[in-house]
Amino acid sequence: MRTPPSLLSLTVESALHNLCNISDLSPLPDHILLDLFLRTLQAGKLTEKVLKLFLATGNDKVLSLIEALNIQHILTPVLPTTNIEDNEVDIVIAALHSDLTSFMIEWKPVFSRFHLIIVKDPDLSEELQIPEGFNLDVYTKSDIDRVVGSSTSILFSGYSCRYFGYLISQKKYIISVDDDCIPARDSSGALVDIIAQHADNLKTPATPFFFNTIYDPYRKGADFVRGYPFSLRSGVACALSCGLWLNLADYDAPTQALKPGQRNTRYVDAVLTVPARAMMPVSGINIAFNRELVGPALIPALKLAGEGKLRWETVEDIWSGMCVKVICDHLGLGVKSGLPYVWRNERGNAIDSLKKEWEGVKLMEEVVPFFQSVRLPQSAIKAEDCVVEMAKSVKEQLGQSDPMFARAAEAMVEWVKLWKAVRSSQLST
């Protein structure tokens, strides 16, 4: 005959099953408290709330057990991004600030599953501060010099240091955000998982040849509208996904200076394909792309003489974006724009940026007719060939008007050489 359970053990069992209704464990004698704690662990019922209950008792034995077992609070839950494998994506962060602690903590729920490539701006002298708990590799000036040679490393200063990350990554997808952005919240208050959304954008087809009036037809609850040709409904591969920004939108310095209080509060719940042959300003602040399809086409080529460390003072991404769009149009690949949003923190003073020399704005005027009319030869069927052809056209048609363009053309050619060199050394290892 089995020994019947004692009244005490029955009570502890009962307490275990009703932990959620207990608000205070301090009246319990020490040995019973310890027993309850051990049974809680065994039953797998230790949640954040229950842990707090036990900690509040101040019982030494329980506290030392917690420390010995290294039980830690979960500060933020990890979002389950389900539509992309960990080994498919690299998150590339250009560190223009040395203290990345708050940035990384904010992004932890979204990033912690994935591999990060952090590239430190070679002009940044301080040591980077990065919190624990991430799977990452950090690259600094010495790494850049080692891989590309110190004469070419000039390509990778400032915001352009991220291109080094694109260069050495071996993943299929790259997602990149500026280090002054944090996750946004959508209209229901939920945290926006930019990885999931960019992945969705890149993994579903794009529709550049005909505009669908209810935007992305592959989104749940949407489809192609009446009048959309059936032969175009399978779409094309999406190579680039351009996200947007809440709070501080990506305006240029004059616009932000004129409207210092303007903040973007409008959450537009849409992803759409930017039609073929339509030009657009591609912002590097929140971007993702299929590295296998268009990796070489994102180019650190155009450097302003007065380029600074604020987005208002750069056009590297705009130039790169114009090239990528032309190349995507040529190769029959799609570019999407819209979701996901990030929240961009306040930084810098637009008026101060205005005072600096910003040729970027003038430059855009000259390049628009060029990009509208540039055509790539049929023989260019891979992204790197397209870049080389574009570089030729840039040199011929724009090189005369400003030496900056001639330098950009050279940088583009240099970049393709680098890309190929890194690629082949990766394949041989």
Partner: protein, 362 residues
């Protein structure tokens, strides 16, 4: 950058805008629109049996045209106006004397925005039409002229004045504007996503224009808004607005006008019978595959300086290139010419006499 950071109230334009409504049943839906439409003049185009009386709710100022009126006013040219199809609405565009037109279907009601407020669709269309478009360069924050938005970094300053807006294409919540095959596969799908954006469709890009919730600047693009030969005696239906949209977009691209799409939303209440729709659309689904490359490759010469000239030129190319797809396109090309002739007749100083209508004269 976008002009003016002050938010000024949207002008009513009540003497400059006509609301054109095609109907074959009744106009009960107008009751819901009363607070938004009451101040405007309505042009009602009654399709189907002209002996039937369509009752217009009290208090609206309107003209009403039935088939007999259309025949009387246009004489033999009435052949270009469809019968037994909402395409007949374009007769209303032709006889209007106003600068702007808003057209809406009789199964479209007032929608609510995400905060639960009734959407004044007409007000949004007016905003869209009165602010410039940006067809030459895509702005990633959508319409830069909306409050709270602007041109993004990298947008050329020389393009920030934009182009005049010719068309404002609104959208629909609830029953989406799907074709018959899609309706058959997804009979329960409803459009519940409110996308808070207006954007310009880039130059050189075609789109499917839906006539359910549409506004345009009649002075800029009116003659291009011919809704074709549909319905009774025609091999095709439900492509009227599509046809007008493709012709219109090619002409707008040529003349440097903009087309906006997005807000406002209306609530589309009636799902038409997908089997009936399939019969109507059937040929269109095949012909579409020829039509799209045709429109994508239409070129208009520099001499085409007016909408009418552009339109006549397109009709010639329709005859030349699409006549071999089906005899229908020869008929359509002729009808396009008839339309322009009728338009010019009705819109010269001669114009329309008041006693040709059935409704109270304005």
């Amino acid at each position: 950058m976008a002009a003016g950071s002050k938010v000024s109230p949207t002008p009513l334009l009540k003497d400059e805008l006509d609301i054109v409504i095609p109907t074959i049943r009744n106009l009960d839906f107008l009751e819901m629109w009363r607070p938004f439409f009451e101040q405007y003049h309505l042009i009602i185009v009654q399709d189907g049996d002209p002996s039937k009386t369509i009752k217009v709710p009290e208090g609206f100022d309107y003209e009403l045209y039935n088939r007999n009126d259309i025949n009387k006013i246009l004489g033999p040219k009435a052949s270009c106006i469809s019968f037994k199809d909402s395409a007949c609405r374009c007769f209303g565009y032709m006889v209007s004397k106003k600068k702007y037109i808003y057209t809406i279907d009789d199964d479209c009601f007032v929608a609510k925005n995400p905060s639960g407020k009734d959407i004044n669709a007409l007000e949004q269309h007016i905003k869209n039409l009165l602010t410039p478009s940006t067809p030459f360069f895509f702005n990633t924050l959508y319409d830069p002229y909306r409050e709270g938005a602007d041109f993004v970094r990298g947008y050329p300053f020389s393009l920030r004045e934009g182009a005049p807006t010719a068309v404002s294409h609104g959208l629909w919540l609830n029953i989406p504007d799907y074709d018959a095959p899609t309706q058959l596969v997804k009979p329960l799908e409803r459009n519940t996503r409110y996308v808070d954006a207006v954007m310009t469709i880039p130059k050189g890009t075609l789109f499917p224009m839906c006539g359910m919730n549409l506004a345009f600047n009649r002075e800029l693009i009116g003659p291009a808004m011919y809704f074709g030969l549909m319905g009774d005696g025609q091999p095709i239906g439900r492509y009227d607005d599509m046809w007008a949209g493709w012709c219109m977009k090619v002409i707008c691209d040529h003349l440097g006008y903009g087309v906006k799409t997005g807000l406002p939303y209306i609530w589309h209440s009636k799902a038409s019978n997908p089997f009936v729709n399939l019969k109507k659309e059937y040929k269109g689904i095949y012909w579409q595959e020829e039509l799209i490359p045709f429109f994508q490759s239409v070129t208009l010469s520099k001499d085409c300086t007016t909408v009418q000239k552009c339109y006549i030129e397109i009709s010639k190319q329709v005859k030349a290139k699409l006549g071999k797809v089906d005899e229908y396109f020869n008929k359509l090309a002729d009808a396009m010419v008839t339309w322009i002739e009728a338009w010019d007749e009705q819109n010269s100083s001669g114009g329309l006499s008041a006693d040709a209508t059935n409704g109270p004269a304005k």
